[in-house]
């Protein structure tokens, strides 16, 4: 069953309209929250007048910053540092507003329409300050004391100066990636209720990291973690953005406590586009030292991450991942990188699918293309010359990411390059594109190689319990964001226990059902929870056989587990079902050892991530009149180590690619000169539709299983997205016949049109 494309367990309720997303949850006597948001990018709050709002029939309360001044700002969940602490976001603006969309007041009313009426009646007076909109420009003032550079770090390995001293060629280049983000189809939301009967605060609609958010909420509200229960419902897409702890989440929980009624908040799309985490928005300067054959000996990088107005839960995650993963699949023995996390008066930023890697793959692959062009080397060949060999695995990069050294666990990079070259018939393809270009068409091919990371530790647990009816329940503290988590866990469990898939239920994201949990991010769920579930299944099988041996008065060595029952080998009528074994394990049963019931719990811990990898190849055709980039063909090779369910892996890759194309061509949070966001609806935030998507060709391989877990699995979530920007840029260069023409993303029609008209090479190389 592992390795089979079985149909998903999740789908029936979702197809029937019986899903339970947070907006579908209603509690008796609930209030609805509406946030009043800053309409000014930067300024000092002079006054907030809520009198008129409070007079609206049905409005129960209005809060401003003063009402929540005692609640601390939202802390870092990951990659925090002392220097960044002053830059955390309060749940309602205190003295200053720092971006359009910042929460300044909260209105609570009996109906969402009435809550909006109330919010419209709140009058906020702000005296404007000059906004900072170019994070790479001069630093600005944050709070009268601190400037807008929140964090600077340097990572290095090898002798960079020596490499540049010896270099035959040195290239310098600037690159940038624009501001875009996950934009799940379901907006954010939360419902909280304080159960006075039990003293428990229940928070519904959690996602991604329910346990960490439980702990954070408990800390901020002065409650014990056991007094706060977070529950995940159906989640309408995550992509890194959804499920982080945001100001609105804390307000909902606090209001449920203070107002003594359930409180519901459902975000609208306009809010989402200015309030949920943005991402990307990085600017790079590179120096590349090579020998005469194009082998990269040294790489020096300096980049700025535009963090927006506050440092949120991710701390410096995106910047550190960009830095650590930038060298990708290439040897690059001498590397130095300095990252700067800087604030601006834009929506705060966080992670988005392939965070830091979408950007740094763009930069690295652009640089390789530039070296190839400068030295007259074929673009595939220069990659081959720099790839890390399989005999060099495990490969120590010499830098850290997310608190752990980057050590590539396994990889057959050259094998993948060969496979893709053969699949696309590289020579024939480049020849035919050259011929089409000679006939006046603007068509080109791009390549983008990358290493991903997955399976972030340090732990995941899984408990498996069989009930007397033979139903198997897998409980984990991990989370589902719609990716097929339940199916994958059930496959791993069902295979080991030899039961039908539909006999298995999977519980996730309920903080009162497991003692610890992490969640669904960093392509970790299948690797971490899957490994724990595998271990728990193996333990349960062993335990079932042990007890069955006592019940059947047989030796465990003579027993086998088949079709949900333990039976004597060669004598199938002598059998006892898993349900019967569970029945026999009541608390007073003589079969009980350390705990009653047919139940096991296992924890998988690891201090290392593992490293899947991939290669994208794409063909584009440009229309110089409209400035549009048509993707004619797109191939993604990806090594997953081992695919539990290839259909779901391919689904992740194709969906990820659509988001990658969006960031490369369409999606762009732009601002005017006073910091007003110009993109606040889906008329402006353009995501790919069915019309823009090519038929993707996926080459899924299992050449390099991870040695770090018994299943050999690596993560699937981000490889579809990672190299799209790099490949589109490379293909557009090729189509224009101007290497280095594309230095920044997104390549919107307007920008491509300008590029086509500008004629000469726009390269700064």
């Amino acid at each position: 069953m592992i390795g089979e494309s079985v149909l998903r367990l999740e789908d029936q309720p979702l197809l029937r309209g019986e899903g339970r997303f947070v907006a579908d949850i209603n509690l008796p006597h609930q209030l609805h929250m509406r946030i009043v948001r800053s309409q000014v990018a930067h300024g000092t709050i002079e006054s907030i007048d809520a009198a008129e709002a409070l007079a609206v029939p049905g409005v129960a309360a209005v809060w401003t910053g003063a009402d929540v001044a005692a609640i601390p700002p939202i802390d870092f969940r990951q990659v925090g540092a002392d220097q960044m602490v002053p830059y955390r976001q309060p749940i309602l603006a205190q003295d200053r507003v720092r971006y359009v969309g910042e929460p300044v007041a909260a209105v609570f009313a009996v109906d969402p329409y009435v809550a909006e009426d109330g919010a419209e009646a709140v009058v906020v007076e702000v005296s404007g300050l000059a906004p900072l909109l170019d994070a790479a420009g001069p630093l600005g003032d944050f709070d009268g004391r601190l400037d807008t550079e929140a964090y600077v770090f340097t990572e290095k390995t090898g002798d960079v100066d020596g490499a540049f001293g010896r270099a035959e060629h040195v290239l310098e280049a600037d690159f940038s990636v624009g501001r875009h983000t996950g934009v799940p189809l379901e907006c954010r939301g939360a419902v909280a209720v304080h159960h006075r009967s039990t003293g428990t605060l229940e928070f519904l609609g959690a996602a991604k990291v329910p346990f960490q958010n439980r702990d954070a909420l408990a800390r901020m509200l002065g409650l014990p973690p056991s007094g706060v229960v977070l529950r995940e419902a159906h989640v309408g897409g995550g992509f890194g953005v959804r499920g982080e702890l945001y100001p609105e989440d804390v307000l909902v929980a606090l209001a449920a406590l203070r107002l003594g009624r359930p409180v519901k908040w459902i975000e609208d799309r306009q809010e989402h586009l200015v309030a949920a985490n943005h991402s990307r928005d990085q600017r790079y300067r590179l120096r590349v030292a090579t020998d005469a054959s194009g082998v990269v000996e040294g790489l020096e990088v300096e980049f700025v991450s535009d963090q927006g107005a506050y440092v949120r839960t991710h701390g410096a995650t995106v910047a550190t991942l960009a830095a650590a993963m930038l060298p990708g699949p290439y040897r690059i023995p001498n590397y130095r990188v300095t990252g700067r996390v800087r604030l601006s008066n834009k929506t705060p930023a966080g992670t988005y699918r392939a965070p830091g890697r979408y950007e740094s793959t763009f930069v690295r692959e652009r640089a390789l293309d530039a070296v190839a062009a400068a030295l007259g080397i074929d673009r595939a060949e220069i990659r081959r010359r720099n790839l890390i060999g399989s005999e060099e695995m495990p490969f120590e990069r010499g830098v850290d990411a997310l608190g752990t050294p980057v050590v590539y666990d396994s990889g057959q990079y050259e094998m993948m390059l060969d496979r893709v070259m053969a699949h696309i018939d590289y020579r024939a393809l480049t020849d035919s594109l050259a011929e089409r270009r000679a006939n006046g068409e603007l068509v080109g091919l791009g390549l983008g190689f990358f290493v991903e990371k997955s399976g972030l530790g340090p732990f995941a647990g899984s408990r498996i319990e069989v009930d007397p009816a033979g139903r198997v329940t897998v409980t984990t503290g991990e989370a589902s964001v719609g990716q097929g988590f339940e199916t994958v866990m059930a496959q791993i469990c069902a295979e080991t226990l030899a039961v039908d898939l539909d006999k298995v239920s999977v519980v996730h994201g309920q903080t009162d059902q497991m003692s610890y949990g992490m969640g669904a991010f960093a392509s970790r769920a299948t690797v971490m929870a899957g490994t724990a579930t595998h271990a728990a299944s193996v333990a349960l099988r062993r335990r079932a056989i042990e007890v069955a041996a006592e019940m059947l008065e047989a030796s465990p060595d003579d027993l086998e587990l088949v079709d949900g029952a333990v039976r004597v080998v060669g004598s199938p009528t002598q059998a006892v079902s898993l349900g019967a074994i569970a029945s026999s394990l009541g608390p007073a049963s003589p079969h009980v050892q350390d705990r009653p019931g047919l139940v096991t719990e296992e924890w998988y811990t690891t201090s290392h991530m593992n490293y899947p990898y991939g290669l994208h190849a794409g063909v584009v055709a440009l229309d110089p009149d409209t400035g549009s980039v048509g993707i004619e063909r797109y191939v993604i090779a990806y090594d997953i180590g081992r695919a539990i369910n290839p259909m779901l892996v391919e689904g992740q890759i194709v969906g990820g690619a659509a988001q990658g194309f969006g960031g490369a061509l369409f999606e762009d949070f732009s601002y005017d000169e006073i910091g007003q966001p110009l993109v606040t609806t889906f008329m402006d935030y353009l995501m790919p539709t069915a019309a823009e998507m090519p038929e993707l060709e996926i080459l899924l391989s299992e050449d390099a299983p991870s040695p770090l877990n018994p299943l050999g699995v690596k993560g699937a979530g981000e490889g579809g997205t990672n190299a799209c920007g790099a490949v589109i840029a490379s293909a557009v260069d090729d189509a224009l016949g101007r290497p280095g023409a594309v230095c920044s993303l997104p390549l919107t029609p307007e920008r491509l049109h300008t590029l086509c008209r500008s004629g000469g090479a726009a390269s700064r190389v």
Binding site: A23, L185, H234, G237, G651, M683, A690
Partner: protein, 159 residues
């Protein structure tokens, strides 16, 4: 501001619902809150994403852009009306078999859009079908399996 409620009867999936709603209340909110049919989802509330697509007299509409008071006397169909008891509609079945959904949030809108086009134009060609499906947004699947699913449903419904 608060408005006087209007009483009306909505016919949804063949069932009559007596509701009293403010004239400003959208059809989507009314279906979800007053009829208890939460399968219709709201993804943008400005008529772009199509997650809230329902059929009104067999025509696909964005229920976030219609008011409930505009729909008295018309036959409304939502995702809850597709399956025949335990048996999925061919379009639902095809989405299941071809992995046409991940998070499932946009799915009801795509199912209703596809239902409408396949009922009215059972012989629609691949290119036109892609154009029609480009009316709605999905953020998970990259559309490939949605298109495959609707092709399969078209072929199944024709045979």
């Amino acid at each position: 501001m608060n408005q006087r409620r209007v009483e009306l009867t909505l016919t949804v999936n063949g069932q009559r619902h007596e509701v009293a709603v403010e004239p400003r209340k959208t059809l989507a909110d009314t279906l979800r809150e007053d009829c208890g049919l939460t399968g219709t989802h709201l993804g943008c509330e400005h008529g772009v994403c199509g997650a809230c697509t329902v059929l009104v007299d067999d025509e696909p509409v964005r229920s976030c852009l219609m008011f409930a008071v505009q729909c008295g006397g018309q036959a409304i169909r939502t995702v809850e009306g597709l399956a025949d008891g335990e048996r999925l509609h061919p379009i639902q079945q095809a989405f299941w078999e071809h992995h046409g959904l991940q998070c499932g949030f946009c799915t009801p809108g795509f199912l209703m859009l596809a239902t409408s086009v396949l009922e009215s134009r059972p012989d629609i060609g691949d290119e036109e079908l892609r154009e029609v499906l480009a009316s709605n947004l999905c953020r998970c699947t990259g559309y490939q399996n949605i298109i495959t699913s609707v092709h399969a449903a078209r072929d199944q419904m024709r045979s």
